[in-house]
């Protein structure tokens, strides 16, 4: 085993429940590498919801909360508000974050609360056996859309930008190095960071979404199909827009805003000095 992973994994919890060829391990290693580089092992906690993606932090020897379906962001915000001095990473999936957890996602983005959210998008409900998710491409045949999905998929990263998240990136599992750098940047960023990782699910979405369940084939396809976006670029339709899609360092983070507001209120209520009092007259 990789020496780094050996230091970070709960070895007695292995083997993982991921299928052979799953993309989650790539994300897990990218996260561990980022945490190790930042040297914040004791100052970071992970919160996750339900689904394959949410099992990623459960094998890590960190403070981890594996919560209920869709609610990871709500738990994480409580934890962050209780410990504003610490960093919180949230692991979620396309179904967990965009379907059942959609409302929490919108509000957390708008608050711009300091969380690093990693949404692993495998375009399917993998753990329950391959049903249509909010990110399943139109026309893809799944267990609950046997004639092809009718719904237009929800783009998590676009939604995050539109709702006010201040660091938004998208990568695929075919970009492990860039992904790791993005996770590092997201943890360092003070505000709501959202990273969408397109990951292969050979078992459940391989055939329906990519036409083949060979993980190497899917990853090759992901790499070929992605375009690394720079501001102002035009991304042709059908291509995966990868890269840092939005980075805003000017918007104030939620807890800072809360503190500023309380300070301003206290100042406005403080007894005025005589000089100011005269000016007011």
């Amino acid at each position: 085993m990789n020496r780094l992973m050996e230091r970070y994994l709960r070895l007695d919890a292995l083997p993982t429940l991921f299928c052979p060829g799953c993309g989650n391990g790539i994300v897990q290693q990218a996260f561990v590498t980022a945490v190790d580089k930042l040297g914040i092992r004791d100052d970071i906690a992970c919160v996750s919801g339900i689904g394959c993606s949410s099992w990623v932090p459960c094998y890590l020897d960190l403070d981890v909360m594996h919560t209920t379906h869709g609610r990871a962001l709500a738990f994480a915000q409580g934890l962050k508000l209780a410990r504003p001095d610490k960093k919180i990473a949230v692991f979620t999936g396309d179904g967990d974050c965009l379907a059942i957890g959609g409302n929490h996602f919108l509000h957390a983005c708008k608050r711009n609360i300091d969380l690093a959210v990693i949404m692993i998008n495998n375009h399917i409900y993998g753990m329950t056996g391959g049903q249509k998710s909010p990110a399943t491409p139109q026309g893809a045949a799944t267990k609950t859309s046997p004639w092809g999905a009718y719904d237009e998929p929800i783009e998590g990263a676009d939604l995050a930008i539109c709702m006010g998240a201040t660091y938004v990136a998208r990568w695929t599992t075919a970009h492990p190095v860039q992904l790791e750098k993005s996770i590092e940047a997201a943890i360092k960023h003070k505000g709501f960071s959202f990273i969408e990782v397109i990951a292969q699910c050979p078992t459940q979405s391989g055939k329906s979404v990519y036409g083949d369940k060979d993980p190497a084939f899917i990853m090759k396809k992901l790499k070929e199909n992605s375009v690394i976006y720079k501001e102002g670029d035009h991304v042709p339709a059908g291509k995966i827009k990868c890269g840092v899609l939005h980075h805003d360092n000017d918007k104030t983070e939620y807890i800072e805003r809360m503190e500023t507001q309380l300070r301003l209120y206290a100042e406005s209520k403080a007894p005025k000095t005589s000089g100011e009092g005269e000016q007011a007259k």
């Binding site: 004791d42 459960c58 981890v64 594996h66 709500a74 915000q77 409580g78 934890l79 508000l81 410990r83």
Partner: protein, 405 residues
């Protein structure tokens, strides 16, 4: 095992007049609550309003979340961050919180949830009272778990039971519900409050099934909704281990029921008819007992349940008391869950009749009936949101007794 000990509340406090919901919020601050997440809902809204300023004044954190689901989740998250936390809601909001209450029970998270009951189902009667959630509070989340719930009958009890709820939740590392209702939530009464902060001791290891420490204490805790062993490792797929996990979650509460049970009695010494009441219905129930005995002064009232006992009798001349033949007393259940079987059996052992007035279709009465083999247990239900009147209770008792004798 630790001997039964309940730290008494301080002898000296400040007298003031508060609304029930306000009293609950102030008690939470006194009990060391430093995180409140909530969502406004009638008739519990005053709690979130008071907490929005009180949390800031006390150096804690307040957040208004997007819904009740998120509010319940946020307090669980904050508790693992080391902050004592609470949320408050009513009817539909309490239904939404059930998922997280189950999570808190399995992960052994000490949090306090206040449910100021209103009439249901659905939107029902937002501004009227009820006791319809007595089963939801016990069985609301899916699966098997134990629940501690306290039902206050006065503003003073709103205050005292909130403190008790924090103590019990920390001691047994479990969610505790303060099961109030619109009447006690909105009434104003004299109440004794305390300043400063109460010292509450944390969970005794003997009570904890899967001890995980607060986050960022170097313990690398794994807080898991799936069944887990004492190391946090998942055992949900192992039948034998899961079975014993569930059993210990149950026994951690059931084996300490004597410590949790809180039952008051009024005039029960030689009573052969008992009225068993909880929550706001205990008020007219006690008045009924006193009226039957022709008592005008505040005799029988006990500390936190003084209430605004009426000094007049329902009938004008004491010598025409039509119920003087009823030898009636009252059992007031404060810790409604876990159901105090033994305590109630002991108190009602000489009672021929036990009447259970409730503002619902008659739910708690089933538990009482199951528990009391030798008494005739009769439901006095009242629907619609109004409290029973003392004469209603007495008339129903007299009618029933007459039929059988």
């Amino acid at each position: 095992m630790e001997p039964q000990q309940r730290e008494p509340l301080p002898k000296s406090g400040r007298k003031t007049i508060l609304q029930g919901n306000e009293a609950c919020a102030r008690a939470a601050v006194y009990a060391g609550c430093r995180f409140f997440a909530g969502y406004p809902i009638t008739p519990s809204t005053e709690i979130i309003e008071v907490m929005s300023s009180e949390m800031v004044n006390a150096g804690g954190t307040f957040i208004q979340m997007e819904d009740e689901i998120a509010s319940a989740c946020a307090i669980v998250g904050a508790r693992w961050g080391g902050k004592r936390s609470m949320t408050a809601t009513s009817g539909p909001g309490f239904t939404l919180m059930q998922e997280t209450i189950g999570f808190a029970a399995v992960t052994e998270t000490p949090v306090v949830i206040v449910n100021v009951q209103r009439g249901g189902p659905s939107t029902g009667q937002p501004t009227m009272s009820s006791q319809q959630d007595i089963y939801q509070v016990r069985y609301g989340s899916h699966g098997d778990y134990e629940m501690i719930a306290l039902a206050p009958s006065s503003v003073q009890e709103m205050y005292d039971f909130t403190i008790r709820a924090f103590e019990l939740s920390e001691k047994f590392r479990t969610p505790v519900v303060l099961l109030a209702d619109e009447i006690v939530g909105h009434m104003r009464e004299k109440v004794i409050v305390y300043d400063g902060e109460r010292q509450i001791r944390g969970g005794h290891r003997n009570y904890v099934v899967s001890p995980q420490d607060d986050f960022f204490t170097g313990s690398n805790s794994l807080v898991e909704g799936q069944f887990h062993d004492d190391m946090g490792r998942r055992i949900g797929h192992l039948a034998d281990k899961s079975g014993s996990f569930l059993a210990s979650l149950e026994s951690k509460i059931q084996n300490h029921i004597d410590e949790i049970s809180d039952v008051d009695t009024f005039f029960m010494e030689d009573a052969d008819i008992a009225i068993l009441a909880y929550g706001s219905v205990a008020r007219p129930a006690l008045q009924a007992v006193r009226s039957a005995k022709g008592i005008r002064e505040e005799a029988g009232a006990k500390g936190r349940f003084v209430g605004n006992l009426r000094k007049v009798l329902p009938w004008k001349k004491p010598d025409v008391n039509p119920y003087s033949h009823l030898n009636v007393g009252m059992i007031k259940v404060n810790s409604v869950w876990p159901f105090p079987d033994k305590e109630i059996q002991r108190l009602a052992k000489n009672c021929k009749y036990v009447f259970v007035p409730e503002m619902n279709v008659g739910k708690y009465v089933r538990e009482v009936d199951r528990c009391l083999k030798h008494s005739k247990v009769i439901s006095l239900r009242k629907l619609g949101g109004d409290l029973h009147t003392p004469t209603e209770i007495l008339a129903a008792i007299a009618k029933e007794v007459e039929q059988h004798e």
